[in-house]
Amino acid sequence: MNEQLQSLEAIHDIKRMMERSSRFISLSGLSGVGAGICALVGAALAWPYIYSGKEVSMYPETSLIMALDNDPATVFTLWLFWIALGTLIAAVLVAFLFTWRKSKQQHQKVWDATARRMTINLAIPLLAGAVLLLKLIMLSQVALLAPTTLIFYGLALVNASKYTLGEIRYLGYCQLLLGFINLWLPDAGLYFWATGFGLMHIFYGLYMWKKYDSKQD
């Protein structure tokens, strides 16, 4: 009987070590909540430019579509571009801070082999999506921007889920689904985007935080 208990314990140890050495487990649920709030703020700032006709360009006289065709750098004169960039930077920063804090609490390095592997697997679909977005902007296909970001972000999450907390995969499926529906409801792009990057992040973040982190705080 004693031998049996020892064997069980040994197998438990083995499973734990395999998890710990192959997955980045310091990812904090609060990172998701923080990034989600940033996304909602960004979406709220962008709303008047998209749905109530606020002038999108810093130089109102230019015809946007022609200007973009002639000179892609025109994108830098758009308020929406700076809102998007600001939202992205804020979200990544907030997400990083909470995860960094969690790894400190667990006395683990935040940038170890598992973190690198997760980041690379997250980055590949994201970079592919970014290239496609660039081309879509140059072609003035603005209705496709929101579904494209949702779909590629979803793919990135599914891809990275093998290297961090596995539940991320389902968040990825949700983003993919939202992106697909958005393809057929192009006018509602910002709402889908706010649901995917805002609400879904917050829901998932809270769920993950409850499941993994709240006991330690």
Binding site: A10, I11, I14
Partner: protein
């Protein structure tokens, strides 16, 4: 005595060695320092267990450098992989047999 007990390998009869093997089974190669952090053991303790595994040809050692600092990494050998899998099966059989 049941035959599976013969497969319980004395080489893996330690929590630290099981830990080393677990990490090596799911990673192509793992450095000394990473193992040390994961297992939370002293240099000397880890080194002695690694040496035992190495002498039994369970793991392979690659000595490399990052700049001027030595960076030794470890990989599981073919023999080691087979032995570890047999060991796990024996552990499972042992649990099942007494259920």
């Amino acid at each position: 005595m049941a035959s599976y007990l013969n497969n319980l390998n004395k080489v893996f009869d330690s929590r630290i060695r099981l830990g080393i093997m677990s990490a090596l089974m799911v990673n192509e190669s793992v450095s000394f320092n990473t193992l040390k952090e994961m297992l939370d053991v002293s240099d000397g303790n880890l080194a002695s267990h690694i040496k035992a595994l190495e002498e039994n040809k369970i793991i392979k050692v690659n000595k490399g450098f990052i700049g001027k600092k030595t960076n030794t990494t470890y990989q599981v050998s073919k023999v080691g992989e087979k032995a570890f899998k047999l060991h796990l099966e024996a552990l499972e059989a042992l649990i099942r047999s007494t259920k």
